[in-house]
Symmetry: D2
Subunit: 304 residues, 4 copies
């Protein structure tokens, strides 16, 4: 996220914009928590995980009163346009502000990669690499001991992290909400592998497809195998961003500043086919981003 | 472990020893699973996690019959001396073999660091760094969101990983089996911190001091804070070993080969005060390795 | 590369192909160095850097005699189709084999990303992340001391690594062969930054745009600044591959096996717009892959 | 370093001390650049590389006038005691201040590990791990290609980084200033290894034992081997500190605050045999810290 903030500030300044930062998301917009963001303020932040502006949920902003307060603050602070970095919920809020008269542009920033209109969201590549790194480490010990390992990864409604990290990590089975795989079948596969001489296996489970501990318990009961469980949790949300995430954030942040500078609004910036694109909020909000079946088949086919 | 195997092989060969590897621990000693280990066989393994010889539990070896079988195999293979890399259980097995006539030397290899007679065990530094890396990542997101994070780390009977990683990671509270800290007190501390303006906290829990999910649940109920849990599991057992672990493994493996070469037995090699030492198995097996109170106090004092 | 080999083997086997590996590239094809590659042989290699098949240059293969020998070996070994993983030179060799009657498919594997017909080559993302990681570390010390740092990265004919890693790392200046930037201008920029209060700077130099030490020396002489140089060298070629590189290699390797299985030849597989594509060798070999000017401008604009 | 600053502040406050930070070292002490350091100011810094107080060389402080100015500033700011984190040069400065009446305690912080009176200095473990990580990556490609690699590491007067990282990385030859190894002998060894079938080799060179490029050139000329060179430079000075470095820094920083709090001065804190010790500056400044011959022999013996 920091790379996107940096890009908005620096590219914005080149375009003649003055940029301030609103802390703690919509909650901060209501309460007026803001900081000036000059060229120097965004120096040496490109490599930091998290966001210098912090985030927060705001129940109040979901109410018309909260939204009116946010608008009032924006006017008081002289905010003429807003860049919102976040996911589907953030964009819904952004749309509300547009309706109330505040030009707003969206930048897709969520590790879940579940935003339509962009091939990938900021944070996804970093999260996937963190999961793959964990899989690597478990694999080291998996080959030393002969065991089955279950790794629960993030993704309440989406299996993007699970499928991509599972494919990259060489997981034997991947459970995602989009293509539910019955535990019985996972167990059958594990047993077939065992019969063929495979002595250890890795099962990746997206939160939305079940709890790691529950899946592990079921496998243990059905196969009698020794099963160990890892729940990565918020480890997936932090860490120095990968190169790819920083380049993406830089591209999208710069374009978001451009859109506001040319007086437009109501759009999300995204990357498609390697090119920065602009999408109407209406074509993005609430729209699904299905996982290509090809990826699922490839993951299954290579994990024999 | 691989660095220790490499050192036994290469230093052993310099001393005129021929070295073979027994796979799958005592189970492999019973069944005779062995591989030749030449200079080349241990090339390019120093940086790999896990162990090229793999490990396994052996219930059979716990019986007199199993031990007799292991001795028979050792004689058949012409094994004149054995280097056992492992923890307390492995050393108990080693002692049994000595009593049956097989010269054996122990090398302390366990991530838990719970072996007396050595300042540190092989694998501990790597495991601690893995935990600290996870804490770093959680910290990134902790400062962005305002939340309490619980991380469960390994250590069923020992809080070494928890205390050292917690100190290094700047955790607010550390729960270890050796110095149980009631959850009420943890909660009091979290509330005091919150009252002082501290918006996020990290709690590290050693397995032996409670389950991460249970501790998290209790904190949530007592404080009302938003709590998220990570269970690192076997991620802690893998990964490329740190420099310090490789140097230690090289030193201890070389010395173990020396002890056998000079016809001695019944000892564990260790590091004390930066120097390689030799300890009688009897001074090591079943002996506690208490965590210095100084470390606990330092961790508490710095986590204000 | 290992992920690509794994994909060819596993996907190939699903398609009914029997796969063997040729070691040491075309040199090994001449001399007949081959290994069987079963499902198990490619287990636990997806996370390893380098390639299990090793590589080598072969001057002999550049001659008609060498090529004839390679064909003879291929016939003797019963090779009915070949997957060549490499860059432009490898594909030229592949084309020669096709002309001699051996069906061959190319997979773009080079850290330089200088192959047309694919958005990205296998290895590029890993190399860029290694460079960015080095830049991060230098940045830590750059902000502590006040100095100018020069980092020489790979890229004899192409500035892809330099521009992407420089953009992601927040480098102040990036020197690439495609858009030569006179050292005088780099120095002017450094001086302007210094005048504005910028106390440290990072300059990334692609090999093809000059030697890091020479550029460093010139900056020192023209500005009087304290300059330190890093030459990363082959550090960029190794390391566990990133998630993105593994997914790409899996996709391309699988498709390459498919092409041979359906009896086709003369194509390179690539990724364009997130989709696997097939390109005629003639549209790829010797063709340039220019760096988008947009990226260069973005890097410059954000590095104010 | 940040972990040490954090420990001085937090432990100091527990002891009733008020702590301020002097930026840019002795130069900042002369000019009075200081910042308050409260509990919160040192929150979330334990994992950052570099130092939040920055460093600088000060020629002026080497003169009696400069020292008098520093003393005047210290008095003006009400500084009653000083903790100096650094190496031999810093401690010489510290001693001068003591002579002029300012109680001062030293904390050994240098990646070079060349300070007597402590087993290890803050920063050393991190630097060594960075070098070992680079060696790992080069090793990946070394086993794929058949080549000789030279890595130049830091250490102008001391081979500590080279010997420990070389041992941990499994380097074939290690050149350090303390035990000069003629290039002829390095070449002989490389040739012997080649004759035995060893196709790639890693040579680690400490700055003080020669330039990486020069050593590489000599090897190329004497052996005809294909040689590639890496000069890691300041990459070694940055990066998130290892667990071990953070624990050490926490221990030493806390003790330094204690010494000042009990009204003592003129000491360096160090770690010996795992225990924090206090040494008179006179027993430390200008004293050598020789590399144990045992380590050199082990490195040579294991690199056959």
């Amino acid at each position: 996220m920091n790379a996107a903030i940096r890009a908005v500030v620096r590219w914005g300044q080149q375009l003649g914009l003055e940029v301030i930062g609103v802390r703690h998301g919509f909650a901060g917009l209501i309460s007026g928590e803001h900081v000036p963001l000059t060229l120097r303020d965004v120096g040496d932040i490109i490599h930091r995980g998290g966001t210098i502006l912090q985030t927060a949920r705001s129940d109040r902003f979901l109410t018309p009163e909260g939204q009116a307060e946010a608008m009032a603050t924006a006017r008081r602070l002289g905010i003429e346009g807003l860049v919102v970095i976040g996911g589907d919920g953030s964009f819904r809020g952004a749309k509300r502000l547009i309706e109330l008269g505040l030009p707003t542009v969206g930048v897709p920033g969520t590790i879940d990669n579940d935003i339509a209109g962009t091939d990938v969201t900021i944070g996804f590549d970093t999260a996937v690499n963190t999961v793959v790194d964990a899989i690597n480490k478990i694999r080291d010990t998996a080959t030393s001991h002969d065991r089955t390992f279950v790794i629960e990864v993030m993704g309440r409604h989406s299996g993007w992290i699970a499928i991509v990290a599972g494919l990259a990590g060489g997981a034997e089975s991947i459970l995602i909400p989009e293509h539910p795989l019955p535990v019985e079948e996972v167990c059958e596969r594990l047993k077939r592998g065992f019969a063929r001489g495979k002595r250890h296996s890795l099962v990746v489970v997206a939160e939305g497809a079940g709890s790691g501990f529950e899946v592990g318990e079921q496998i243990k009961q059905r196969t009698g195998f020794d099963v160990r469980v890892t729940v990565l949790g918020h480890v997936q949300r932090g860490g120095a961003p990968t190169a790819s995430d920083r380049v993406l954030a830089s591209q999208l942040g710069a374009r978001a500043a451009e859109i506001l500078a040319r007086g437009e609004s109501g759009k999300m910036v995204g990357i498609e086919h390697g090119t920065v694109v602009e999408r109407d909020f209406d074509d993005v909000i609430g729209k699904p981003k299905p996982i290509p079946l090809e990826l699922v088949r490839l993951a299954e086919g290579l994990a024999v």
